[in-house]
Every structure is written in structure tokens, then in C-alpha cells.
Amino acid sequence: MGIEEIKKVAEILLQYVPATLKLFGATLLFSIPLGMIVALLRKCKIKPIEWLVSFYILIMRGTPLMLQVIAIYYAIPFVQTSDSLEKMPGFLQTLIGLVDIRDAGYMFNAVCVAFTLNYAAYFAEIFRGGIEAISKGQYEAAACLGFTKTQTFFRIILPQVIKRIVPASSNEVITLIKDTSLANIIAYEEIILKAKQQMQLYSSLVPLFIAGIFYLISTIVLTTLFSFIEKKLDYYK
């Protein structure tokens, strides 16, 4: 490929950087709070809930993300076209009927849900480790000083958990930016899907390498950001 062609491919791929970053950002935004909730539910004393959460984590970590994207994306349309729809309660029928699989928003929402559920499971395990590493004495000291449970969690426990989970989380986040390419299994138009199309057009691997540069830059930015955060949190041991 010539310089002019490479420039053209790069320009096209650049147009799909927002699509990749949108999926990345939305996944982080939803999976981190959800992961925190899952981590707390996993420590729940009600056994069936604990089992359910453990099962959820097993499925999410035990099956490929690609498969989960497909399963979630096709779940609603599959119900729409199957006979089981008529057996469902009316409001559910209406709700499912409202979903338009041809809408671009549906595809993004489905991919986002799949990624969020998957990443929440991984984050939940990181958070659980972080929460369990905090000594009982911290809870007791907080209780004796009259802090409410919510205050204890947000003022005493969470800040310490965050410091502990930053290194493991940075790994997840860097993996996520590269995992966004798995969304192209249902033809979500992100940078790798476009790179593949351009590869076919030019019968060349170069477009894929151009996409690779984007991921490399993203990773450099994220690594720098996380080492900055780690330094910021390094004021105590």
C-alpha cells in the first residue's frame, strides 16, 4: 500500500475511534458500580443470593465474551419471533415488542449490556479481594466512633479498597480497550471491523496494523493515567 492509500485508510479508521471509545467508556461507567454491587451481594448472608451471584460470575468468566455478545444481542429478537412471546404477560410483550433490532441504538445497547455484565463479574472479583483485605478492626473502630454503615463504607472502607484494587483494575481496563473489538462479531461498526473491510479491499494487512497503532496509543494513555493514579494514592501504606 502507498502512503496516499494508508492515509485514506487511517482517515476512515479514525472515524470509528469514537464508536470504540463509546463502548469502552459506557462499559466502564456501568460495570464498575455494578461490580461493586455484585461484590457486596457475593458476601451476602442469604445463601440463594450468594449462589446466584457465584453462578453469574462463573458464567461470565467461564464463557467467551464473544458468545455472550451474541447471546444477548439475539435474545430479544429471538423471543420476538418465537411462539413463547404470546405466553408472556401483556406488559412484557409490549416491552419486548418496543425493541427494534434494526435500530442502531439497539445494537449498541445490547453490546453495552453484554460487556457490562462480563466486566462487572471481573471487577466484582477484584473488589471482593480488595474488601476482604480490609481488617475487621477498621469496621470496629468506625462503629465505636459512631459512623453509620453507609459512612463507614464510603469514608473508611472504600478509599482503602480503591488503593488496593488500582493495579488489578488497570489490567482489566487495558484489556477492555482491546476487547471492544469483539463487538464486531455482530458487526458493531468499530475500528477493527472497518480495518477488516479495508484489508479485503486492498488485500493487505496494513489496515489492521493501523488499527493496532490506535490500541497502542490508547494503552499508553491508560498506562500513564494509572501510574499517575497509583502515585497519587501512594501517600500512605
Binding site: 478492626g137 465505636c144 466512633l145 459512631g146
Partner: protein
Amino acid sequence: MEEMLQVKNLSKSYGNLTVLKDISFHVKKGEVVAIIGPSGSGKSTLLRCINQLEKADGGEVCVCGQTMFSSDESGKAVYSSAQILREIRLKIGLVFQNFNLFPHMSVLRNVTEAPIHVLKQPKTEAIETAEKLLKKMGLLEKKNSYPCELSGGQQQRVSIARALALHPEVLFFDEPTSALDPELTGEILKVIKELAKEKMTMVIVTHEMAFARDVANYVVFMDGGFIVEAGTPEEVFSNAKSERTKQFLERYHNG
């Protein structure tokens, strides 16, 4: 004198293992009570029950006239409403063996955090109080340090300041010097002595016999979940009635 703490027939067990049985004693305003006894005698559990870190099975505990829990007809402990338990909680302070300072907060914030967010004191007022307390503890110049930068003795003094910042009516110490190097215990004992001089009501679980004898108005000797002997330091240390007490004190003197 006003009764600050009343404990009547308190009992507690883990499954079949009885750790506290029929514990009764009381603390008057301005009194210093030392609880002594061998490891596993139930001293710490008693303190944790009074500080609501463990649930008692039966008996009664009153703090400053408010009932924390009392037994029903079957002898089971019935706790008061959450509101009353909270009020009681704020009347008592606890200093831990392992300090349990908040590692992510500066010394000053460790002391001001509860007054600001629990008592809703204005920030300036809380800081003023905290600085006064830290000065008293000889740690004012360390107010911007983090706990990990302090020695064990300094950390324990911060945790005493943290407990005092809430102006407790009674202050409890759970073996405050056990986690410290021997040369650092002196600074903590000095602080407690000073508090005693100011007529602070205190209950101290301790292994420091000389200190207990010196500072306490009243000594409680526990063994196997029972109070074996209680009285003035003179009565317990010099004229122990029970064989068990004599044995324990002897080993201590020899050890």
C-alpha cells in the same frame, strides 16, 4: 457519686463455650477501673460486649442511666432501640490494642472525622478541639503525618485523641500497651495517668500490674469467664482472698 456504668449478671457464650458468666460490676464517675486476668479469661470479650462489638446473651448493661440491654423473663438479653444504642455508643469511647487508625487519613483527619460527620460539628471547631488534644498528646507537629509514618506509641496516642474528640463519658482501653515495644509503653501509661488526674472515667483491660495498682481505684480480676475477685488495688494485690488470684499475681511477680 453518679453511676456511669452498671453491669449486672452479664453472660455470653459461643455455642457451648461459655466465655462470660454472671459478670457484675459498676463504675462511678471519675473512677478508674482496671480489669486484669490471664489470657482467655474473657476480659476483652467483656469490653467488646459493653462497646456493642459483640452481642451479650443475657444480663443487663446501663450506661449513664440508659439501658443498653436487659434480660427478659427467660433470661435472654433484649437490646434497646437503635436510637438509644446509638446515644449510648457516643457516650463511650474505645481505644484498641492495635490502634485501628484509618491509614488513608492524616493524623488530624483521624481525630476530626467523627466529630465532623457523626456529631456534625463545624469543621473549624472540630479542628480546634483536635489540635488541642494532639497538643496534649505531644503530637501537634505530627498532625499532617499519616499513621504509617508514626511509631506505635505515637499511633496509640493519636487513637486516644481520636476517642477523646467525641467527649465520651467513659473511656475504655483494650490492652492499650500490648502491641507496643516495652520502651514505648511508658508514654501511653503517662497519658492515661494524666487523664485519671483530670477525673476521666476509665475502664482499662491491662497486663501492666504495677500500672493497674498505681492508677486504678478499683481492680477486677477475671478468670475463666468469671469475676474471681474485685476490690481496691490494696485488697486485690496485697490481700487477695482467692487462691486463684494469689497464684496469678505470684506468677506475674516472678515473671
